[in-house]
């Protein structure tokens, strides 16, 4: 870009375009209580649905008696699998090529599974009726451990009995789902066999839940007069929901309108299609009136969209000097009762093959075995791209373990293995092409900012003081350097249910020079209405304040695959920039006509086209917009609109360097975060204020996961963490202030060089917090301890290491 003079800079600043910490346009309604979330939608005659759920994790359903419930005043219907079967809706396909029960068909496979759907005049009557539905169960043996599942004679999925081929290849056992392999097995084993040093560790990334503050829900309204179905709901991918609804219901797609209103956080929870949505739709079709279904918090935690539950066994080899030579990873992936992971079709373990991380590892192999257990289905990407947090956690723990094995400083070990700046675009051993990066610069900046050497010295002094009995607090220095893979993705290898993962933007410029743009994505708090207008402002020279952004209504927005996996900026953001460039190209023709010069005699100048060499002769975008509607221009259609569907040539690869300094009281297990420094490189920065906010939020969700948040089961398959009493969500009291920083390495293939940032802090944060805890005990012989590092578990670690003796 050319340097702008002062006058041009002033005009550019007025646009509030790229790089401006523009205040959010969404905030006026949210701060005044005027958001419009799904539970705020009310329609005349609307009924309320509620589920009868299984108290057992594995049981045969012997009978369901709905008589008493139906007899209750105000109850309109009680649906069971038998009612859905004639419509072929008692089961539904999952995004992962499996199928799942909508309502219990003969048996239940996890605690909280949907058994019957009660429809009543209000929520209270529905809740009463749920209690009146009599279900007779016969308990079956429960398996909550995936390793046990692969040994057990108990067949969890009787519907798949005898099927040796699944959606992703052969099944080795009746509770096995798939094996997914990437990389070179033999070559990796050879490298490991010949290596000077090999470090091995099993790293469990526990089951947790995205848990947005707003639970999932929907309002379905079947208009029998016009044959139109409208569904409002908590959908991170409304267009895909429309397609799925059409395929499942047989209603033609043009007769279905899906709307995502304001969404109270998603974090992956609202990508999937849940039985509640299907039942609300069926209930509306059956009753002919709108039906609302809103899950409560316990239902949300028990039944919709868990995340993680990966048992990752790694071997990493290196020379004595610390140069990594090979990486071997095997994952046993607990998918619960149905394989309902929300990954691109060809990636049953998501992008777990980004597990070579930020390091130049010449040889690697990854195998993932998916397994059924008696737990809830899900496997969504909780604030990360598909399984990327698992991959980052794995490699960042393996690096730490290798550092212990080598008796090396973990920061130095990272430095000597980073992919070098000149190696980009870099082909990883597990098949990705990293677009751009400058890891050494970021790392050096981070270590300097925290005075890394000083921290290590202080830590060593603390260990000595501890040994002398002068303190009971240890100090951990947590490091992480992560590379994300986001912005799925190229249609050639990324699709969901066959729909290519492109995204879209459609722009209309109004005659008076303001605009509306609609996208295929949907904000859940990321501030799209603010930032996409900024992208466009810089492209077309209309102030962001004069551009309305709309998303989420499938009747008006162009088709897109939605918002998750940090794909909005990399994909829809690119579509926005390119649609803007189409507008500009047409505007140039109009300006040329108005100025009576050739198109090529004009140049773009912030918000106008100027005749080259004659700066006093120009037409502003506002003037051009008006001309587009009121002049008959030969060879140019009236109007000023454009649409762009963007198929990205590659993913983007944001990265970052994080350092956490933690003090741990060995007698109570209480950890205190003294400092957290986060350097993020997300390429071109659209709105620094929003980026910083995303980083704060992602780090806090990382803190939660690393230090206590889990979905835990007992041996009977009972969910032990079904409310906020047990499921850890940090409050303001438990969260530190974070120091944010950045470098800027633009993506070479993205139209504006942006990479996406929303999930980076979570991906980098989880290993950073965990590494801090592990590091605090390194001097006392600890290699690895599993998350979540709550006070009790930290105390146990200290105890096991003899620190209470």
């Amino acid at each position: 870009m050319k340097d702008l003079n002062e006058e041009q800079q002033e005009r550019a600043a007025g646009l509030k375009g790229l790089g401006c910490s523009r205040k959010r346009v969404e905030d006026a309604r949210f701060t005044q209580g005027k958001g419009n979330y799904v539970d705020d939608i009310k329609m005349p005659g609307m009924l309320h649905g509620d589920f009868v759920r299984s108290p057992y994790a594995h049981a045969r359903v012997k009978s369901i008696n709905t008589d008493a419930a139906m007899a209750l005043d105000g109850v309109v219907a009680v649906l069971t699998a038998k009612d859905l079967e004639p419509l072929s809706l008692h089961w539904m396909p999952t995004l992962a090529g499996d199928k799942q029960m909508v309502l219990a068909d003969g048996k239940v496979l996890f605690q909280g599974q949907e058994v019957a759907f009660v429809v009543a005049r209000d929520r209270f009557i529905a809740a009463d009726a749920v209690e009146l539905v009599e279900v007779e169960y016969e308990e079956l043996p429960v398996i909550v451990n995936p390793f046990e599942a692969l040994q057990s004679d108990v067949v969890l999925r009787e519907d798949l009995a005898g099927q040796t081929e699944g959606a992703h290849g052969p099944r080795k056992h009746h509770n096995h789902i798939f094996t997914w392999e990437v990389g070179e097995k033999d070559a990796t084993e050879q490298v490991l066999g010949d290596a000077e040093v090999v470090a091995e560790e099993t790293v469990y990334y526990h089951r947790t839940h995205p848990c947005p503050l707003e639970t999932c829900g929907a309002v379905a309204s079947m208009d029998k007069v016009n044959g139109k179905l409208t569904v409002w709901g908590t959908f991170q991918a409304p267009h895909v929901v429309r397609t799925v609804a059409s395929l499942l219901s047989g209603i033609e797609e043009h007769n279905i309108r899906v709307v995502s209103p304001d969404i109270g956080g998603g974090f992956g929870n609202k990508v999937g299609v849940y039985p509640g949505y299907v039942c609300a739709i069926v209930a509306s079709i059956v009753t002919g009136v709108p039906v609302k279904w809103i899950e409560d918090r316990m239902e949300n935690l028990m039944s919709t969209a868990f995340a993680r539950d990966y048992w990752m066994t790694g071997k990493i080899s290196a020379t004595k000097e610390g140069k990594i030579t090979g990486l071997h990873c095997h994952v046993t992936a607990d998918h619960g009762a149905f394989d309902a992971c929300a990954d691109p079709t060809k990636f049953p373990a998501g992008f777990m093959n980004i597990c070579t991380g930020s390091y130049d590892i010449p040889t690697a192999y990854l195998a993932v075995d998916g397994v059924y257990t008696n737990k809830a289905p899900g496997g969504v990407s909780y604030r990360c791209s598909f399984r990327v947090t698992e991959a980052a956690y794995f490699i960042e723990r393996m690096i730490e373990v290798l550092a212990i094995e080598l008796n090396m400083d973990a920061a130095e070990l990272r430095r000597i293995n980073f992919i070098k700046k000149e190696q980009f675009p870099y082909q990883s051993a597990l098949g990705w092409e990293y677009d751009s990066g400058d890891y050494h610069t970021a790392w050096d900046k981070a270590l300097k900012a925290v005075d890394y050497e000083g921290l290590r010295k202080e830590q060593a002094d603390r260990v000595e003081a501890f040994k002398r009995g002068e303190t009971r607090k240890l100090m951990g220095v947590g490091l992480s350097f992560f590379t994300e893979i986001v912005g799925a993705g190229p249609v050639k290898n990324c699709d969901i249910l066959g729909m290519g993962m492109f995204d879209s933007c459609e722009i209309r410029i109004h005659p008076t020079g303001s605009a509306i743009a609609r996208l295929g994505t949907i904000s859940q708090g990321q501030g799209h209405a603010t930032t996409f207008a900024q992208i466009l402002a810089s492209e077309i020279g209309i102030s962001a304040d004069s551009i309305t952004i709309e998303e989420g209504d499938t009747d008006t927005a162009p088709y897109g695959l939605g918002t998750y996996g940090s794909r909005s900026t990399p994909v829809a953001g690119a579509a926005t920039a390119l649609a803007g460039r189409k507008i500009r190209a047409k505007a140039q023709m109009i300006a040329a006509y108005l100025l009576e010069v050739h198109d090529n005699d004009l140049e773009w100048d912030v918000d106008r086209f100027v005749v080259k060499g004659a700066p006093e002769r120009f037409k502003t975008m506002k003037e051009i917009a008006y001309a587009a509607y009121n002049q008959a221009i030969p060879g140019v259609e009236p109007g000023l609109e454009a649409v762009s569907y963007y198929d990205p040539p590659n993913m983007t690869y944001p990265f970052g360097a994080y350092v956490c300094v933690m003090d741990i009281d060995v007698d109570t297990g209480v950890q205190e975060i003294r400092k957290f420094y986060a350097l993020d490189d997300c390429g071109t920065r659209i709105n620094p204020m929003i980026i910083e906010g995303q980083v704060h939020g992602g780090l806090t969700e990382a803190l939660a996961v690393a230090l206590g948040q889990e979905i835990a089961y007992d041996d009977m398959g009972n969910v032990k963490t079904g409310t906020f009493m047990d499921f850890f969500l940090p409050t303001a009291w438990e969260v530190p202030n974070y120091i944010t920083d950045h470098t800027v390495t633009p993506s070479p293939h993205h139209p504006i060089g942006a990479k996406g940032v929303g999930e980076s802090p979570h991906v980098g944060g989880v290993p950073c917090f965990s590494n801090a805890v592990n590091d605090a005990f390194r001097a006392f012989g600890l290699r690895h301890t599993h998350m979540p590092h709550d006070h009790w578990r930290i105390w146990q670690t200290a105890n096991r290491l003899g620190l209470h003796d």
Partner: protein
């Protein structure tokens, strides 16, 4: 039905009178009966604070109060704090300092913060963090919420001083 109670309450300065089952939860009274949808439901166990309203001068969580307990009460919700033409200082501050993202916790958060600043007009950061610990946010990591509240406190105090 015979078990309905005659309830009176004032919500954001407006007198309301209706018959309700005593078990009706206050949050549903507000949201469904009175169409006051600013307060939200996040957990129904008093943990998250999305439903926070002010009842007779105290911050309460409307999801775990029966409407019967609010009979005769004076209630303020986010809708009663400011108007589009004259926003509450906190409403301005949350926007200015990016103290919200998805907006779901925001009505409860601001309503609670308004009480906090009445209880303690000059809080330290620690006091803000402690005083807001009953309100959960999944998006912001609280850093900018705390910043917003401290900024609002400073502004309110400056305005008070200027008026004296």
């Amino acid at each position: 039905m015979s078990n309905k109670m005659h309830i009176k309450m004032t919500v954001n300065g407006k007198a309301e009178e209706f018959l309700a089952e005593p078990r009706e939860l206050l949050i549903y009274t507000l949201r469904e009966r009175l169409n006051v949808t600013g307060p939200h439901i996040g957990c129904e166990t008093s943990h998250c604070g999305a439903c926070t309203v002010t009842l007779n001068g105290k911050s309460v969580k409307a999801c775990t109060l029966f409407v019967a307990q609010a009979d005769g009460a004076e209630l303020t919700t986010i809708e009663g704090l400011g108007t589009p033409d004259s926003l509450h200082v906190l409403q301005e501050a949350f926007r200015e300092h990016h103290g919200l993202q998805c907006g779901y916790c925001t009505p409860g958060m601001i309503t609670r913060a308004s009480k906090l600043l009445e209880e303690n007009p000059t809080p330290t950061e620690e006091e803000v963090r402690f005083g807001m610990a009953g309100n959960m946010c999944r998006c912001t990591g609280y850093q900018n919420i705390v910043k917003s509240i401290l900024a609002a406190a400073a502004e309110m105090n400056a305005a008070k001083e200027a008026a004296q």
